[in-house]
Every structure is written in structure tokens, then in C-alpha cells.
């Protein structure tokens, strides 16, 4: 599915300084019954965000009007658990375009990149600095620069480089997806399949 191109993002950020945020927290399984990709943002972090009677839990960061922006900053091992792309959809649909952490689970990272959300891995020390900058000023701005592969805390000017392979970088910059690539080598795939027994 085509998605918005990702180049440079300047935004405030929402802090979630919890480790091992799993996909069941990002979107609980009972909200996976849709047959279309619609409305998942409403249930992002559902059980951390709402009480059983659907009233908002005031202490949860998404319910705190002080925080906002297109960047979500999470603790180590973000996105562990299931392969549900619904987790990435919920994050995108809510309005985030970049998730920052010091470590990502594998499938979640791939799912994000396939739908145009940038999973941006920083060092553990730099992650602490990002949390500190938001704590000092919830309106602190950050710059995600994909062409330059840098993440900058604008209030202090501190900057760190991040890694991404050239292929995925080009995809995100241009809004390309893997299926278009694969459809262009379909002849080669069909030849390969002929030699590969069922």
C-alpha cells in the first residue's frame, strides 16, 4: 500500500519511558477484528489509555494535553510480541510518523517501515537525553532527518546518526513499497518457482 513520503520531520515528541512495550499493549487482540485498515488509532494503547468503562486514564501520557507530536519515544525492546501489523497501523493512524527507541523487536521494525513509519534506533545514552529534554520542556522540538540519517535534540543541538539500509531508505524517501519491486521481477520469480518443487 502506498504511503506518505518521509524526508525531514520536525516535531515535539510523546515520551513513553517503559521497556518491553509489547504489541498486545500497542493494540490488544480484541481490536483486530476489522477487515479494513481503518480506525486503529482509536484503540492505540487501549488498556493503558482507558478504564474498563471507557473513561480516559488521566495519568497516561496520551491523555495528557501537555504532550503531543508526531514522534513517539519508547523504552528498550519496543514492539516485542506478535507480528500484527495492526500495531504499526495504530501508531500511524494515531498520527505518529516516527518511533524512537534504543532497541526494536524485529517484526515490528519491519512492519513500521512497510507502512511509512520510521523506527529510529538511538544509543541507550542518547535515549536518556531525549527523555530528559522532554521532561525539561514538553514543547521541546526534535528533528528527524532521513536523508542525512540524523536525529537532533533542537534545544541542546545534540545530534546522533542512525542506521538504515539504502534500499529501505530510498523506499521511505519516495513512498515506494516492496510489492512494486517484486512485481517488476516476476519473470525471474516464476523461473525460480519452476525449479522449486512444492
Amino acid at each position: 500500500m502506498a504511503y506518505d513520503k518521509f524526508k525531514v520531520l520536525n516535531s515535539t515528541a510523546v515520551p513513553l519511558p517503559i521497556e518491553n512495550v509489547d504489541t498486545d499493549q500497542i493494540i490488544p487482540a480484541r481490536f483486530l477484528k476489522a477487515t479494513e485498515r481503518k480506525g486503529f488509532g482509536d484503540n492505540l494503547f487501549r488498556d493503558w489509555r482507558y478504564n474498563p468503562d471507557n473513561t480516559p486514564k488521566e495519568q497516561f501520557v496520551l491523555n495528557n494535553p501537555i504532550y503531543g507530536g508526531k514522534i513517539l519515544v519508547g523504552g528498550k525492546n519496543f514492539g516485542s510480541g506478535s507480528s500484527r501489523e495492526h500495531a504499526a497501523w495504530a501508531i500511524y493512524d494515531y498520527g505518529f510518523r516516527c518511533v524512537v527507541s534504543s532497541f526494536f523487536a524485529d517484526i515490528f521494525r519491519g512492519n513500521c517501515m512497510n507502512i511509512g513509519v520510521l523506527p529510529l534506533q538511538v544509543s541507550p545514552d542518547f535515549l536518556v537525553k531525549i527523555f530528559e529534554a522532554i521532561e525539561a520542556d514538553p514543547n521541546a522540538e526534535f528533528e528527524v532527518n532521513l536523508p542525512e540519517q540524523t536525529f537532533t535534540i533542537k534545544s541542546t543541538g545534540e545530534k546522533e546518526n542512525f542506521e538504515i539500509n539504502d534500499y529501505k531508505k530510498e523506499n521511505l524517501l519516495n513512498g515506494f513499497d516492496d510489492i512494486d519491486y517484486l512485481l517488476n521481477i516476476q519473470d525471474k520469480i516464476e523461473t525460480f518457482a519452476k525449479d522449486t518443487p512444492l
Binding site: 519511558p17 483486530l32 477484528k33 516485542s80 517484486l182 525460480f192
Partner: protein, 469 residues
């Protein structure tokens, strides 16, 4: 050049390498279920393309199905809609569909091996992280997201960077009442839930050689819980005996030809892994988890670790214990429990039901425990009946439900109520995984059986010793 088992299977499936990017990997067999596929089929529709190889694609309904009264229409309109969507998509694209009530219906990772879809040396994907189960046969099997499901439906390929390699070797002997589930929970407790992220694991050593195929499936199933994309065991005589004559395995000359290939599927001596880990079989006890991720497990006779003994993340650790309403340093033995769940792609096969039944035989379920026994498939259900296990279970106060994922992820009505404790043979103890507010203790079928009898966390060896005395 020396190659690992993983290298041999991966390299044989690379259609093309992308410079500073992923490999284009050919997928032999694609398993599809109702929850992660509808948006992928919509994608095909908007591109106006068909499934490229329906004969390499298999669909079942499992995540979202009821486990009682499956002969009746599905009550929940959203679930019914999702099941109908898969049925229609399968029909439109000529994919075999084993829906609710079909004799081959069951949990996707149980029916794959059962019907011979899972083969050594194959690449297998499914929009479900526990696809790693199929690695027990020496296949490269891993879970994918919905964009990738669409990719495989459209082109039978996926674009993946080659993971790093890890070998986990366990030699020695397992203690009494230590099952494959305990071996896996032990490994995860040692490595943490992110200890194998970025790796594909090969399990090697005496313990896995001696393990049954179903035991290997349980171990490979849980590979994802330490962050690994998948895990595999080199195929051997046990593997070939298991798959021979199943519906979708090669027959006659094709079998002989395949066997020649399969017999080359082992890690060459002196192959180099990116990471090697070794454990001793004797060090493993029956395990139980006390927290909200599968890495938070201990030997059943042990105490809950102190927060200051945990490396980093004390705040996250305390939040987890608070959710469970447990204290640091407490013992797990003797804690009261409310529910027992036997089932899931981790422990929903016939050997799991045999183990559970062996322990509850001649005893009575504790009155205050609700037990949900959910077979992984109709074939497992049939075997439970044919082997006489159902009669023993009924006498002990247990009933059998119909197959599906059930309380493992609680998408259907099988939800553990808020605040209640469940000893569960499934794979995840995340907050709310088994229902909003539910508290999960992951364990083996034997530990689950012991808890079902006593209503408390109980060392199964106590009840087993009692039986032989």
C-alpha cells in the same frame, strides 16, 4: 565452504540479492488465517492482481473462532464478518480453505505439520509470529506482517535481510517432570525477551536430539519470545518418520528425491555462528512465569527475584509485579489460582494432552478452578477421544472444548476475567493478553495439571511421586 543448516536453507531460496538491502527470498508454503489476511487481500484487489501460487497457499480459521458450539453460526458479528471475508477470499483466489467445522480445521501451526504442509528445508511464512513452530522440521519458518502477507500472496516472495546466526546447545539429561516447554521457558529466562533479536536460532545437543517432534515444535514455537525470528532443529529419522505419508508430503519418487536433499540438511562441522550459547540439561527445573513477559520465569521452587537484582529497568519490573499483584522475594509455590488453560500452538498437541491427563488421572479438579482444555485441531480432538484420554479427563472433572487459539490471545469469548490468575500452557503473559486485567502464569501441561488439581501453584513432582509410591 562450511555452512550452517540455516545458511543451506536460506541460500537455496534467494531469488535475488538487493545491494545494501534485503534478499528476495522465495517462499515454498504460505499459511493464512482470518485476522492478518483481509487487508492483504484488499491490497491485491486494489492492484487488480491474483494470488500467484494458490497451490502453495493454505487457509484456516483459528484466532477468532468460538471453542463451544462451532456448529452454530458465529454470534459476534465482527468475528463472523472476518471469517466470511477469509472464506470469500479463499474461494476467489482458489486457495484451499479449512474453515470452522472442516475436519482439517485447527490452529495454523498445528495443522501445518499434521497435514504434511511443513517439510524440512522449506521456507514457510504466516502472518503470525509463532510460525517459528515449523522450524522443528528443519524449515526456515517465521512470522510476517500484513504488508508481507500481501507480498507473498502476490509474488510468493518476501524481502528480508538475512538474520545473524545463533546456536543454542543443551547437553545432558532432563530431570523428571521437565518438559520441552520448561526447556524453552528456561532459555528465555536466561536470554530475556530481546536476547535473540536479530538472530535465527539453531537448537543443538542431546536434549533436542532426544526430544519428540512435538517437543521440538514447542521449543521452536517459543523462539520468538526471546526475540529470535525463528528457530530450527536439524531433521533426522524422527522428522522423516513423522512426515512420511501425510497428505501434502511428497510420495514415491518425489519422496526419494526429497530425502536425498533433506539428508544434507545439517550444520557442517566447524561452521561459525555469530553467537553460541550452551546450557546443561540438568540445571532445568519445571518452570513458571511470575511477570508480564515470557522472560520473567523461574524454576517452580524458586522465589521472585528482587528488583535490585534485575539488570536495569527497575521501574518496568516493579510495574510488572504490581500488575500481577506479586511481591519481590515471594515464593510461587502455593499461590492460589483461578483458571487453567491447556492449549494453543505452543502446547495444544496430543502429547500435551497425554501429559496433562497422566497427571490428573484418578484425581479430581479443584472445585474453585475453571479449566479450559482446547485441542489444537480436530485431529488432536479425535486422538484425545480415540486414546481414551477424554474419559479419564471427564472422570477427573474436566471437559474438552473445540479447537482454536482460544484463551491464548482471547479474541473470542474465552477471556480470563480481570484480576484472576490463570496457569496457562500458552506463549505470552503480557498484560491483558488473556483478557483485560487477566494475570497469566506460563507453564508446562504438567504444571498446569498440578495447579488444576490443587487450585494452587504446585510442583508436579509432588503429585507424580505420590502416584508411583
Amino acid at each position: 565452504m562450511k555452512k550452517t543448516l540455516f545458511d543451506k536453507v536460506w541460500d537455496a531460496h534467494v531469488v535475488q540479492k538487493v545491494a545494501d538491502g534485503p534478499d528476495v527470498l522465495f517462499i515454498d508454503r504460505h499459511l493464512v488465517h482470518e485476522v492478518t489476511s483481509p487487508v492483504a487481500f484488499l491490497g491485491l484487489k486494489s492492484r487488480n492482481i491474483k494470488v500467484l501460487y494458490p497451490e502453495r497457499t493454505f487457509a484456516t480459521a483459528d484466532h477468532n473462532t468460538p471453542t463451544l458450539n462451532q456448529h452454530l453460526p458465529v454470534k459476534d458479528p465482527l468475528s463472523a464478518n472476518q471469517l466470511r471475508a477469509l472464506e470469500q477470499n479463499a474461494e476467489e483466489h482458489h486457495i484451499p480453505y479449512w474453515g470452522l467445522g472442516h475436519e482439517k480445521n485447527g490452529i495454523v501451526h498445528v495443522i501445518g505439520p499434521e497435514n504434511g504442509i511443513t517439510l524440512p528445508g522449506a521456507t514457510i511464512v504466516c502472518g503470525d509470529s509463532h510460525t517459528s513452530t515449523h522450524g522443528a522440521f528443519g524449515a526456515i519458518a517465521f512470522g510476517i506482517g500484513t504488508s508481507e502477507v500481501e507480498m507473498v500472496l502476490a509474488t510468493q516472495c518476501i524481502m528480508q535481510p538475512k538474520p545473524k546466526s545463533m546456536r543454542i546447545t543443551i547437553n545432558g539429561k532432563l530431570n523428571s517432570a521437565v518438559t520441552p516447554k520448561d526447556v524453552a521457558l528456561y532459555i528465555i529466562s536466561q536470554l530475556s525477551t530481546s536476547g535473540a533479536t536479530g538472530y535465527f536460532v539453531e537448537y543443538a545437543g542431546d536434549i533436542f536430539k532426544q526430544m519428540s517432534m512435538e517437543g521440538r515444535m514447542t521449543v521452536c514455537n517459543l523462539s520468538i519470545e526471546m526475540g529470535a525470528r525463528g528457530g530450527m532443529v536439524a531433521p533426522d529419522e524422527k522428522t522423516f518418520d513423522y512426515i512420511k505419508n501425510r497428505e501434502f508430503t511428497p510420495k514415491g519418487e518425489a519422496w526419494d528425491k526429497a530425502m536425498k536433499y533433506w539428508e544434507t540438511l545439517y550444520t557442517d562441522d566447524d561452521s561459525v555462528f555469530d553467537h553460541e550459547i550452551t546450557f546443561n540439561g540438568e540445571d532445568i527445573e519445571p518452570m513458571i512465569t511470575y511477570g508480564t513477559n515470557p522472560g520473567m520465569g523461574i524454576g517452580i521452587s524458586g522465589g521472585i527475584p528482587l528488583a535490585n537484582a534485575i539488570e536495569g529497568g527497575a521501574a518496568t519490573y516493579k510495574k510488572s509485579l504490581q500488575y500481577m499483584d506479586f511481591q519481590e522475594g515471594e515464593n510461587m509455590l502455593g499461590k492460589a489460582i483461578d483458571f487453567v488453560f491447556l492449549g494453543s500452538c505452543t502446547n495444544g498437541r496430543i502429547e500435551d494432552f497425554r501429559a496433562f491427563t497422566s497427571l490428573v488421572k484418578g484425581k479430581q479438579k479443584a472445585e474453585n478452578v475453571t479449566a479450559w482444555l482446547v485441542p489444537g485441531s480436530h485431529k488432536v480432538e479425535e486422538a484425545i477421544k480415540e486414546e481414551g484420554l477424554l474419559e479419564i479427563l471427564n472422570k477427573a472433572g474436566f471437559e474438552l472444548r473445540e479447537p482454536g487459539c482460544s484463551a491464548c490471545l482471547a479474541m473470542n469469548d474465552d477471556k480470563i476475567p480481570a484480576g484472576k490468575y490463570a496457569v496457562s500452557t500458552s506463549n505470552r503473559n503480557f498484560e491483558g493478553r488473556q483478557g483485560p486485567g487477566a494475570r497469566t502464569l506460563l507453564a508446562s501441561p504438567l504444571v498446569a495439571a498440578a495447579a488444576a488439581i490443587t487450585g494452587r501453584v504446585t510442583d508436579p513432582r509432588e503429585l507424580m511421586v505420590f502416584e508411583t509410591a
